[in-house]
Amino acid sequence: MVMDKKSSLTMEISSDEGYAEVAVLRVCGALDFSGITMLSNVFEKLFGEARPYVIVDMAGIESICSAALGEFMGYRKRFVEQGGNLVFAGLAGNVRSKLTLLGANKIFSFYQDVRGAVNAYRWDYKKHSKSVSIAFPSFLQFVPPVRQFASRLAKQNGYSAKDAFRIETIVDEVCNNAVEHGEAGKGSEVEIKVSINKEKIALSVSNKSDPDKVAVLKELVKPAMPVSHVGDDDKRGRGLALIKMLSNELDVEITERGTSVHVTKLREE
């Protein structure tokens, strides 16, 4: 930890986030003109250690001057050139407002806390997937909230409205099939797992099979059946044909015990 005795400004680098290239710089106190040399020394040290992704934890910052902000901007550019970034986390309301007024939010990414910034790093640089699973009773009424959830999750993670709509359509079709053709009655559930990363979204939907429908379903998903097989008057199999058109991978497993559908959709935009 380094400390400026005159202003009681402190800076501490930690590396306990699990990635050698990620450094968390905790700054406490008033960051004014007198603290710029200290800031510069810390950043040079990080360059020397080849840690180009820097999360500045601003939770302890009382105030920040525009010259210090300029210093951050200069070093951010250098970190980006090295394949990293410099981001802010834990900004208090007044400091955040000031930085926003200065337009810093257009240059730096702001995160609620250090973990949010680390999650963003994992998402952007490590292609980390986020997985959410939902188990819901087998009622058709629950399908619209589930499809909208998948769409919102995609949009929240930077997918375009078009991609999100296509994902929503896939989820709708797969979940409707699971409810309509799966085991019905009290206690029957449909489980959906959505795994999303920067490049693709993977869906797995599983449910218990209805013994009376297993043979028909197996016939419908035979690999020999082309998409063009679905005629204008043929209502069966349209959902699967649509999913095939909208997705990049589709795999259906039907057994007497359960049905699982795995769909992968690559991000297009």
């Binding site: 973990r115 949010g116 959410v132 009773p137 909230p145 589930v146 993670n157």
Partner: protein, 154 residues
């Protein structure tokens, strides 16, 4: 087929604050399609948001890979939600116990510290809020909210 009560919705989500908005909206929509009022659904959404935020911010002990489990039991006359987290640090658990246990009566809003505001809002919007911590410091919060409209579905 109409929705029959009671039923359970179980959600597992990563310890990532960005996932909470779609989850809270999902639970709100589930309540609306089950015949609860938009007001009830919105207030329940706020409860889910506050507890999940707490679980992720303070209950995952810095583990980026940890998960939060949300279990919603929906009855014709009430909504119960249990949120389990991956285990918080001892100081955070003590703060949580204090926030839930010490304020037996509802506190005036001006007396609440900003960090305990979420739980206080949950308390205002719910009938009961209980905390349990197991021997591994895994925390779960159970909240019950009763519906307000006069004629709930059978």
């Amino acid at each position: 087929m109409d929705v029959t009560f009671p039923y359970t919705i179980r959600v597992k989500l990563p310890s990532d604050l960005e996932v909470i908005p779609p989850i809270r909206k999902f639970i709100s929509e589930i309540l609306v399609v089950s015949g609860f009022s938009a007001k009830f659904a919105f207030r329940s959404e706020i409860i889910v948001d506050a507890i999940c935020n707490n679980a992720i911010s303070y209950g995952s002990a810095g583990e980026a890979e940890s998960e939060i489990e949300v279990s919603c039991e929906v009855y014709s006359d009430r909504f119960e939600v249990v949120v389990k987290d991956g285990g918080g640090s001892a100081p955070n658990i003590e703060r949580l116990k204090e926030a839930i246990g010490a304020r037996g009566a509802k506190s005036p809003i001006e007396e609440i510290e900003s960090t305990g505001m979420g739980l206080e809002i949950v308390r205002l919007l719910s009938e009961t809020m209980e905390l349990s911590v197991d021997e591994n410091n895994l925390t779960s919060i159970h909240v019950v909210r009763k519906r307000e409209d006069v004629n709930p579905p059978a």
